[in-house]
Subunit: 267 residues, 2 copies
Amino acid sequence: MPREITGFSNPLVKRVRGLREKKLRKREGLFLAEGLRILTEARDQGVLPEMLFLASGARPHPLAEQLMAQVEAAGGDVILTSPDILGKMSGKDNAQAVVGVYRDRLTPLPALDRAAAPIWFVAQAMRDPGNLGTLLRIGDAVGAGGVILVDDCVDPFSVETVRASMGAIFTQKLAQASWADFLAWLRAGPGQLVGTSLNTDFDYQQPRYQAPAFLLIGNEARGLPADYEAACDLLVKIPMMGRADSLNASVAGAVMAYEVLNQMRRG
Amino acid sequence: MPREITGFSNPLVKRVRGLREKKLRKREGLFLAEGLRILTEARDQGVLPEMLFLASGARPHPLAEQLMAQVEAAGGDVILTSPDILGKMSGKDNAQAVVGVYRDRLTPLPALDRAAAPIWFVAQAMRDPGNLGTLLRIGDAVGAGGVILVDDCVDPFSVETVRASMGAIFTQKLAQASWADFLAWLRAGPGQLVGTSLNTDFDYQQPRYQAPAFLLIGNEARGLPADYEAACDLLVKIPMMGRADSLNASVAGAVMAYEVLNQMRRG
């Protein structure tokens, strides 16, 4: 049976609010996702929240009722609370009507099945949570396998990243590795490492990409370190016709990924 | 000569801080841009700020010194102030060392020279400032002419949009129009109106795009209204291989624009 929580000072409310901070997410191994659409998406991927919070009062949406039953059947907690408290949890004024607390979803690099998808993203020191969420969403759109986080990337389980991923946090794999460990893993199997860079004139439409293609996206401000570029099988340049010398990191990822996808669609 | 301001309660500081609000930006016809790189970019486009704020104390960067002289020569104000006050102005803790106050840059639609560029974006009810800024940055990268804002779009001169544009706010044209006025203007000259939609199976790589191509990007949550889609010369679909049914609005704009650019590069 759902239980009800009405006080802001309730320890569980405090604990869940705490998941907006990286330190506490890490300690608990949990993260927040919000919105019926994303939670239903997760369920369709076989992922249920450990705790499900809904606004009490109004009769829940039929999809929310279904989710409540499934979470309870799986031994999770269903908790009714006020819209205000839901808002505090997600840090949004206009709170989504449902908030889920999920076990984090990192895959150990050796467990990643590179043959499962033709495209993978490798994000190097990606610092912006919106960029990472958008990259996950792009990965879903192009049928990529997931994102491998290299160096000091933003936490993939922040509220902002989960929100920007529009559910792709549940459909894309996520792994974290040092550059050395990533390279060792990559070179132990098939895979083309493709970097985008300004330090080349090789147009990104020139090469024939091969699956699995690992698309390496450098840090937003600095791009890729020189030795990372040197380790790539292909270093390519997206043409820039204007004054600017770079694209937003996730946009560059999208342009690269659609080129690879388009080549593969043509056979 | 530069003058110095040291107090948070100085009326000019208050006025400039006020430019972080849309209402006051509109009333004054001014907006804020920050960072030496972006302000230099603007200068290279022949655009100088009416007011230039720099941190007092440390000797300014040579580029900043140049900019100070140019702003003064053009009759603008150069004001030295504390890093704290600069931070309050831009709403950022780690303030950029320079903040410029610029006259807003809307071009009346009839004054837009459509022949000046092969690609134009048309943003319909775009609500996210980061998306609009990113779209401007993409426009610069593909050599587009600018962005036409249709319906109730986010203010293009918000601090967030200017920041995300990475200087493209100064290289891309911006116009605002009702849908009816836009269509009337469009049809009075050459131009292909291209919408992206889920309501078609026509792959975005199928058609031969023609300059000037007007790429219509729908609202982030709702996409394009049906009658807007009906008014398009071409309605195309970007393939989606995963669970999600859409891309982030600016990402969709980038994928479309690079396809058009790539076709034009091939001749």
